[in-house]
């Protein structure tokens, strides 16, 4: 149905010409789901956006190629012809349902707009059609919600609305750009299921763009793997998963977190114990109970996974332990001392023993400080080094986290995401802490980098004999590292168990739902 041949796109900037897409060819068949997989910067989105003329030119430039859709070359269409095609024959679903809906228009009106634009239908007919579609994409009671505004819908519901909007003109091809990346796992599973069902029912072609092989493992028919603007490998799903030919594809497959670690449950004493912790945030006259009466313990040397969806309070617990947010009530007892009761001076000394690694390596480093300044700061502050010895300590830290020594005078913006996360880890370990909170440390990274950072954390955990509270929304990642797991929902603990027990015999329905939502079921079935 869609045949792309030798497509090449470059971006011309002041710094020179950058080839984003370098002669790629692929086809999308009707009634099939074709997935394009690649890490950030692989050109997967650029390639797909160019099909609809959504690449701004300049700086973008289409160098070569054809994109035949029903006999027409999409790349040669005029702007007016493109407008005709967009939304009617080819529709798009974007990543972020929060920003893709106009907050000042009701959902119903936004749904009706593309229909009324492309086809001459009356308002009443359009409304009827919109209601049908909302029903079809699984919006409960569409008759009463169609006149609501986007903010009255949850993220998952908004993505359903986006899908309905894309489908309203009965397109033949749907381009979905990371449609589930911004969503919680359980919602992600539902949306994937919905897309697969709609595709079967309507027999349309779907071009699914994703950075995550596991996500497409369950739904894609054909998989196209891209790296640095080129296609590395194309094949049907089973071929790719069972016997990938190219080393890069194999690397991607290996990077998917599978299996767990061999748990060693230390018999050592309790290092950190959290008792009846509550952290509420004021919102107008009421409170949001971000953390609501939570108690758990971590033993010395243990890695405890803290798992939950957005809004479960998992990050707030981490920040409460370190007193980065004021707690409402409860105790945090670290090695016999109640951290919540410490005065400023005692707290400062205590801080060298507890550290944190953040999610976003672009926000967690001061952009105006070199690697040296960043790593030297904690060492000098806590008197672990003086000015003459600090240089050697910084270099040792860089060795430990796998950064080349020659980078010592560079600034954060000169590093990639994975390297920045290494700097952040180095800073957290500088004072040789006993306990580290790792708050989604790999969620912002590409899969292959993610695997490297997880390995690094595992090694360093042993080397520095760390106790780690590993916070993540991703059960598959937590499984790789954690000895024990605490599952949170809406600020309360749902279940806590050893990792293997939790995966094999989840006790609570919510845990079971979470486990079933982990993408890549087909993949794991293959692996075993």
């Amino acid at each position: 149905m869609l045949t792309v041949e030798n497509l090449g796109i470059s971006f011309v900037t002041r710094m020179g010409t950058n080839k984003a897409v370098d002669g790629i060819s692929f086809t999308v068949e009707a009634g099939k789901i074709t997935a394009i997989i690649g890490e950030s910067g692989s050109g997967k989105s650029v390639a797909c956006y160019s099909l609809l003329g959504l690449i701004p030119q300049p700086p973008g430039r289409i160098d070569s190629g054809r994109a035949l859709f029903e006999g027409q070359d999409l790349l040669q269409l005029t702007e007016a012809q493109l407008r005709e095609t967009r939304g009617r024959d080819i529709a798009m679903v974007f990543q972020d349902p929060m920003t893709c809906l106009n907050p000042y228009m009701t959902v119903g009106n936004q749904l009706m707009e593309p229909l009324r634009y492309h086809k001459k239908v009356s308002k009443a007919q359009a409304r009827e059609r919109a209601l049908e579609l909302l029903e079809e994409v699984g919006i409960r009671d569409p008759a009463s919600t169609i006149d609501n505004y986007p903010h009255q819908f949850s993220g998952g519901m908004r993505q359903r609305v986006m899908i309905a909007m894309a489908l309203i003109n009965e397109p033949k091809l749907l381009i979905a750009d990371e449609p589930t990346t911004a969503l919680d796992v359980t919602i992600q599973a539902q949306i994937l299921e919905l897309l697969a069902a709609l595709q079967k029912k309507r027999n349309i072609g779907i071009l699914f763009i994703s950075h995550d092989l596991a996500v497409v493992a369950d739904i894609a028919d054909t998989i196209v793997v891209m790296q640095e603007g080129k296609i590395v490998e194309t094949g049907n799903r089973d071929d790719i998963f069972r016997h990938a030919q190219q080393p890069y594809t194999q690397k991607l497959l290996r990077a998917i977190p599978t299996g767990g670690k061999s748990e060693v449950l230390p018999k050592s004493e309790t290092l950190l114990s959290i008792r009846n912790l509550s952290t509420w945030f004021r919102q107008g006259k009421t409170h949001v109970k971000a953390v609501d009466d939570v108690s758990f313990e971590i033993r010395r040397g243990e890695v405890l996974g803290l798992v939950g969806e957005s809004g479960s309070g998992k990050s707030t617990i981490g920040r409460s332990i370190l007193r980065l947010v004021p707690i409402t009530s409860g105790e945090v007892i670290f090695d016999g001392t109640d951290i919540t009761a410490l005065a400023a001076r005692e707290l400062k000394n205590m801080r060298s023993r507890l550290q944190i690694i953040f999610q976003d390596p672009f926000a967690s480093l001061n952009p105006r400080m070199t690697v040296f300044d960043t790593l030297a700061e904690p060492l000098l502050l806590h008197g672990l080094d003086n000015r003459s010895t600090v240089g050697a300590s910084v270099l040792r830290l860089m060795d430990d986290v796998g950064l080349a020594r020659s980078f010592v005078r560079k600034y954060p913006h000169e590093f990639s995401g994975g390297q920045r996360q290494r700097i952040a880890i180095g800073r957290a370990l500088a004072t040789r802490p006993e306990f580290v909170v790792a708050d989604e440390p790999v969620s912002a990274l590409d899969v292959t980098i993610q695997a490297q950072i997880l390995d690094l954390m595992r090694e360093l955990g042993k080397e520095y004999s760390l106790t780690i509270l590993f916070i993540s929304h991703d059960l598959a990642v937590v499984r790789k590292l954690a000895d024990r797991i605490v599952v949170l929902q809406k600020g309360k603990i749902v279940e806590q168990a050893r990792t293997s027990e939790l995966f094999e015999q989840p006790q609570q329905p919510y845990t079971r739902q979470l486990l079933q939502s982990i993408p890549g079921r087909a993949l794991r079935a293959n692996a075993t």
Binding site: L322, L324, R368, G391, R405, R409
Partner: protein, 295 residues
């Protein structure tokens, strides 16, 4: 922080800081460089005036009166027979000093005030910013006029009065910058390292907030200079025998039909300075735009 020398690695690559990066961008902007060059030249002249001025400041020649530009007096003379070039050079000293010193006063108060309010948040922030609002609400022209009338006209007071008005916007900009920065994870990381609030503000917040402040500074200096000119024009600012560009323009305007050069040349000096500052400010805004600086 001064970094100790790391002797044992020779091959350490020198990174480019965001400041260096900004300078690179600025140096590609011809208009901004022109502005910078003019400013440097004027400041140099102003500093050296007592030594390089063609005539002494007090030298006058009533018999000569106002003469158009000539070989002896390049920019002509005023009605008292004083050399205009000398007058403009001495006037520039005062005008530039008012511009830079008053702005420096504004910067010092504004950055400190705004950074504290933004970092502390809550009630402290509310009280501090309400004070700013209250001073904002005073009609500042009347405020300055009152100060001048009550305490008499003197230069120091002029600096302080203008600075006291201009710091308000600085404080607001600084506060909003610090507020958004403090949500960033690197500040949380600094807290969890155990740094004191003062160190966090000084080392992590202020350097990152300076971009917009620098840009605003280059726009504040001309507005301060205009304010001085305006006050002098009204007879409330600098008073004879001292002079400033504003005062010269004021005198020139009185006799602009008979002796146009008395208005023209101080006007050109003032305009050139203001243009230069604006070009430099525009250039800096583009150069310091962090979003552009990342790629």
């Amino acid at each position: 922080m001064t970094t100790p020398v790391i002797a044992n690695i020779i091959e350490a690559e020198q990174g480019t800081s965001l400041w260096q990066d900004a300078w690179l961008r600025l140096s590609r902007n011809r208009l901004a460089l022109f502005g910078l060059a003019v400013l440097v030249l004027f400041i140099l002249i102003a500093t050296l005036t007592p030594w390089i001025a063609p005539y002494s400041y007090t030298q006058h020649n009533l018999d000569l009166g106002a003469t158009p530009p000539s070989a002896a007096h390049w920019l002509g003379t005023d009605i008292f027979g004083r050399d205009m070039l000398t007058q403009i050079m001495y006037g520039g000293r005062i005008s530039l000093a008012v511009g830079f010193i008053a702005t420096a006063v504004a910067l010092l108060i504004g950055i400190t005030w705004g950074a504290i309010a933004g970092y502390a948040g809550g009630r402290v922030d509310a009280v501090m910013m309400r004070m700013v609002d209250i001073i904002y609400a005073l009609p500042f022209m009347i405020f300055i006029v009152l100060l001048m009338v009550v305490f008499g006209r003197n230069m120091l007071l002029l600096f302080l009065a203008i600075g006291a008005v201009e710091w308000l916007t600085m404080a607001r900009i600084m506060r909003s910058q610090v507020q958004s920065l403090r949500q960033q994870e690197f500040v949380e990381a600094a807290i969890s390292l155990g740094l004191s609030p003062a160190t966090i503000v000084r080392r992590h917040l202020i350097p990152n907030a300076l971009g917009p402040i620098i840009v605003y500074t280059t726009l504040t200096i001309p507005s301060v200079m205009l304010l001085e000119a305006f006050l002098s024009f009204l007879g409330l600012g600098v008073q004879p025998p001292q002079t400033s560009w504003g005062l010269l323009i004021s005198f020139g305007a009185e006799s602009m039909e008979e002796y146009p050069w008395l208005l023209l040349y101080p006007g050109i000096a003032m305009t050139l300075t203001l243009f230069s500052l604006n070009f430099l400010g525009d250039g800096l805004r583009d150069a310091l735009d962090v979003r552009g600086a990342k790629d």
